[in-house]
């Protein structure tokens, strides 16, 4: 009896009843089976079942959207452990931040990773938008996904802004004082927005708690919701934008003749 290869062991595993009860698509690597594996997975079904090979190359997207998602996942994975040592209360927040920095095992690493990923995410969001803009990938039929992208940009900036208060140091205090006063410049309802945002007239215990809830619950959940729509729209709008996939009439109108030769 011939010895089995590793692939055959995996095929056996995929054939078991337990595996088949979870993943319906079954064994084999035919185009159909591979398409079904994507289509029948609750997470992957947001994506297209088929992608042009050249759209997977680095030059097509520079992977900027995927990298943005990557930083977001790092932020979730580092943010949750940080919450275990951080009390969002005025007497304790600053001391907890210092403990995370100097006392908690790996606290410094987690906190710095959270901080650098936050900076990277803002950078990557902008880079992603520039790439989409200069490629013209925002044009119909993808214009609504650009709008979703703008919403995600705002959520990213709000996440950074709300996270800035949490260390509860002088930098945080004055940054949020200045930032929340900018909100009061809104016509008519400015001072009301300022009051509701801070839960008071000044940056105080209420403001710290509100920013904590926004930072750890409301904004991340909203971001996930819009990210799901963002990915789903890629499939609905005909996959990732590629120059050659546009109808010839639209291409003729919007391109420089020298680009046609390529």
């Amino acid at each position: 009896m011939a010895t089995k290869t590793v692939d055959q062991y995996f095929d056996d595993l995929r054939g078991t009843r337990v595996w088949r009860s979870i993943f319906r698509s079954g064994t084999g690597s035919s185009t159909l089976k591979r398409a079904l594996a994507i289509q029948q997975n609750v997470f992957l079904h947001l994506f297209s079942t088929k992608v042009r090979t050249r759209m997977l190359s680095f030059s097509a997207t520079w992977y900027l959207g995927t990298l943005t998602l990557g930083t977001f996942l790092i932020l979730v994975a580092t943010g949750i452990p940080l919450m275990l040592y951080y009390h969002p209360s005025a007497p304790q927040a600053y001391a907890d931040t210092k403990d995370l920095q100097f006392v908690v095992s790996s606290g410094l690493f987690l906190r710095n990773l959270h901080r650098w990923s936050a900076h990277a995410m803002v950078f990557l969001v902008f880079a992603h938008m520039f790439k989409v803009f200069y490629r013209g990938a925002y044009r119909p039929p993808r214009e609504f996904n650009w709008v979703i992208g703008i919403v995600l940009l705002l959520i990213t900036l709000l996440l950074s802004y709300t996270g800035y208060l949490l260390p509860w140091d002088q930098l945080a205090y004055w940054a949020i004082t200045v930032g929340s006063n900018i909100a009061s410049a809104v016509p008519l309802m400015g001072s009301k927005i300022h009051f509701l945002l801070l839960g008071g007239n000044a940056v105080n215990a209420n403001a710290l708690l509100r920013f904590y809830v926004l930072h750890c619950m409301i904004l991340p959940l909203t971001a996930m919701f819009f990210v799901a729509i963002h990915f789903w729209r890629i499939r609905k709008d005909g996959g990732l934008y590629s120059h050659g996939s546009e109808p010839a009439t639209l291409r003729a109108k919007t391109t420089v003749p020298s680009m046609e030769a390529q």
Binding site: W174, T177, V178, S180, N181, I182, L196, G200, N206
Partner: protein, 164 residues
């Protein structure tokens, strides 16, 4: 004969289905409006545990003539001028940073965005849109200066000063 089978619903009257649809949508709209109102009320705190707006600035002899003293914790200046004692808000009218008195220049300056004010609160320059407001100041029975940070008074008026 045919007249009887026609629906009794020419133009204005609703049939049953339309009536219940409207009733349902109407109830939902009212419930949604109520929820929005409750949410707004919930988000607006009814009790605030914030420091009192009235600050005790201590005895007048703490403030020598022609001095400008910043109380960092309460965000006010106590200024002893020739005309008497008066109080200015130290909170910049631009975006709420705490300003500082620069004795070597004789001006009040904001570290955040560079606004500058005279000793009487008047704006010299900078992004600040308004002068620093004067605050109500008075002497209590113990001879302490009290300042009400929630009440602005007109600048340079007789009643805006405390004279001892």
């Amino acid at each position: 004969m045919t007249e009887e089978t026609k629906p009794v619903n020419p133009d204005k009257a609703l049939d049953r289905r339309q009536f219940f649809t409207k009733l349902g949508l109407g109830s939902l709209s009212i419930a949604a409006a109520g929820t929005a109102a409750f949410a707004y009320q919930f988000l607006e705190p009814n009790v605030l545990y914030e420091p009192s707006p009235v600050v005790n600035a201590g005895k007048t002899d703490r403030y020598p003539l022609d001095s400008v003293t910043l109380d960092v914790n309460s965000g006010i200046y106590i200024i002893h001028s020739q005309e008497g004692y008066f109080s200015l808000s130290a909170v910049c009218t631009h975006l709420g940073c705490l300003t500082a008195w620069k004795p070597e220049l004789g001006i009040i300056a904001c570290p955040c965005h560079g606004s500058k004010f005279k000793q009487n609160g008047e704006k010299i320059e900078g992004p600040a849109p308004k002068p620093l407001p004067w605050k109500r100041i008075w002497l209590n029975d113990d001879g302490d200066l009290l300042v009400d940070r929630s009440t602005d008074v007109p600048p340079l008026q007789r009643e805006s000063f405390v004279r001892v």
